[in-house]
């Protein structure tokens, strides 16, 4: 490299920097809130119609739902496009903001989509279709304020059913350690854990790479707290809320104590959700704190091998909590066939066959109208346990959002590495909470 070219390079660098700052407009466009609330219709015009739908691949659930829908509405063709979960989640904002977005779009989380005005508010449809008469707690995870704080505000999505967490148990191992009924309180749970450990049975299967280790943590946080509403608004990413409380500290210390006692696999941090699930299916581990979405797989080989119960309450008669979120199908602002799209959303929530399919294929528990026909799972299956557990927690008003969804970076940048550190004994419960809280504040503001 000689002097002339070096000067040329410097000049180029300086010029580009300066131009970038002064000469050009800011990237991004101001497409602020075109959530038009024009006239909505619940009846579809006659003649051949069609709409586009992009969802995450899910064991053929959506293909089945589309088939059922097209049978009921023969005039409508649904162009279904299934994409891998990870690639869809990565691209959902770009898909929603494209000029020709699908009319129904599967979302993992809102992210900034509401704030950026990319989604259609479904409020007028909820009114028109009568969703507003249903039990409203089912719409909490799919509602958001204009500022993008979830949990309340306008409705932006609905879907075929709910995910709900709880505890799977291996019936054979349960018998082996002398567990006759699922534990209902923390004390009962801990005595089972100790009994299992004493008999050489691994108490919990879990995985640190996909942070399923956060499920028992969040459950402990919920049962230790005296102000569940405050924690719940933290999970929804509400500015000004905190988890830096003595009660949360107690919960983290309890988990830390369990880790110290060897209640989790030694290599928990090297496992991802697939490997931990496979190990659990092959009989390793008494409990698996996980959700109903894995129930169909656990029931597949040998229905009746695994059961499911809600995570125990602190004391007898206390509230049971479950992390739960609706499968989120949204309608982008720029969608062209909105009425058709919402008619599909209404269909999956209300049609008996669709609701049963959501449970059988997706393991998702439908909510919908209060007087809907109940769905049925095979007696003695893990899935049946999930349905019962969901109903119980719903009645106790114990459904909460996943703490991993508190901010868009919570799961990958904060919770996963921090909980790995906690399980490896590389951080203290105090430092863990402080870091999680400060990362939270750096995103939502304090």
């Amino acid at each position: 490299m000689n002097t002339t070219t070096r000067r040329g390079f410097l000049g180029f660098a300086v010029a580009s920097g300066a131009l970038g700052v002064v000469g050009c407009s800011a990237p991004g466009s101001d497409s602020s809130g075109t959530t038009s609330t024009g006239p909505v219709s619940t009846s579809l015009p006659t003649g051949s119609l069609s709409f586009d739908m992009t969802v995450a691949t899910g064991n053929g659930l959506y293909a089945k739902l589309v088939k059922l829908y097209e049978k009921k509405f023969p005039d409508v063709t649904v162009n279904l496009r299934e994409e891998g979960f990870n690639s869809l989640v990565t691209n959902e904002a770009r898909i929603a903001s494209s000029n020709d977005p699908p009319d129904v779009l599967y979302l993992n989380a809102f992210g900034n989509l509401v704030k950026d005005g990319l989604l259609t508010s479904l409020d007028p449809y909820a009114e028109a279709y009568g969703w507003s008469e249903w039990s409203q707690s089912q719409f909490r995870t799919t509602s958001s304020t204009d500022e993008g704080v979830r949990g309340s505000g306008h409705l932006y999505g609905a879907g075929p059913g709910f995910g709900t967490t709880g505890v799977f148990y291996n019936k054979k191992l349960a018998e082996q350690v002398g567990m006759t009924t699922p534990p209902d309180t923390l004390e009962e749970l801990e005595s089972v854990l100790a009994a299992a450990k004493a008999k050489g049975v691994l108490p919990f299967m879990s995985d640190g790479k996909d942070a399923r280790t956060a499920y028992p943590l969040q459950n402990l946080m919920m049962i230790y707290t005296s102000d569940p509403d405050a924690l719940s608004s933290w999970f929804f990413g509400t500015p000004g809320t905190t988890i830096d409380t003595p009660e949360v500290l107690e919960a983290v210390q309890k988990l830390d104590e369990w880790v110290g006692k060897g209640y989790f696999p030694d290599d928990v941090n090297s496992q991802d959700s697939t490997t931990s699930m496979n190990q659990y299916m092959s009989g390793k581990g008494l409990f698996y704190v996980d959700g109903n979405w894995d129930a169909p797989a656990l029931d597949k080989n040998n229905s009746g091998e695994f059961g499911f119960f809600p995570f125990p309450a602190k004391e007898s008669g206390g509230v049971h909590y479950s992390m739960s979120a609706a499968t989120l199908l949204a309608v982008p602002s720029k969608a062209t066939a909105k009425d058709e799209a919402v008619s599909f959303l209404n269909f999956v929530q209300t049609d008996d066959d669709a609701r049963q399919a959501a449970l059988d294929i997706g393991g998702l528990i439908p909510a919908g109208p209060n007087d809907a026909n109940p769905v049925s799972a095979k007696a003695g299956s893990a899935l049946e346990g999930c349905v019962e557990s969901f109903d119980q927690v719903l009645q106790e008003n114990g459904l909460v959002e996943f703490m991993a969804n508190a901010t868009s970076s919570m799961l990958q940048s904060t919770l996963t590495p921090q909980i790995q550190l906690l399980f490896a004994g590389k951080t203290t419960p105090e430092a863990f909470i402080e870091k999680v809280q400060s990362d939270f504040e750096s995103v939502v503001g304090s």
Binding site: M1, T5, T275, N278, Q279, M281, S282, N301
Partner: protein, 110 residues
Amino acid sequence: MRASRDAASRTVLLVVLCLVTVFPLLSMLSSALQPEGTVPVGISWPTDPHWENFVLAWEAAHFWPLLISSVLIVLGVVPLSLALATFAGYGLAMLRPKGTRSWARSSSSG
């Protein structure tokens, strides 16, 4: 005598290195042949090798469409970049004077 013994030990080292290199590949093959839904434990030749896993993977991954996409990309990119590079090479050779070197270097690192 000593020299040839040294040579022999060096060759042995080389052979060991080659074995170490193929080891992970063998381990991958061994797990590819395990029955579906099991987690590979160590390296062992399965008693009942599941060769059909390859067919399943081919179908599950929609291999044909993916392969066709790759071929299309190759057919488009390779001739085009070759043509552009040839033109540029000829042009740079004509220009010759200083500057071409730095240009060539910056393009190759890009």
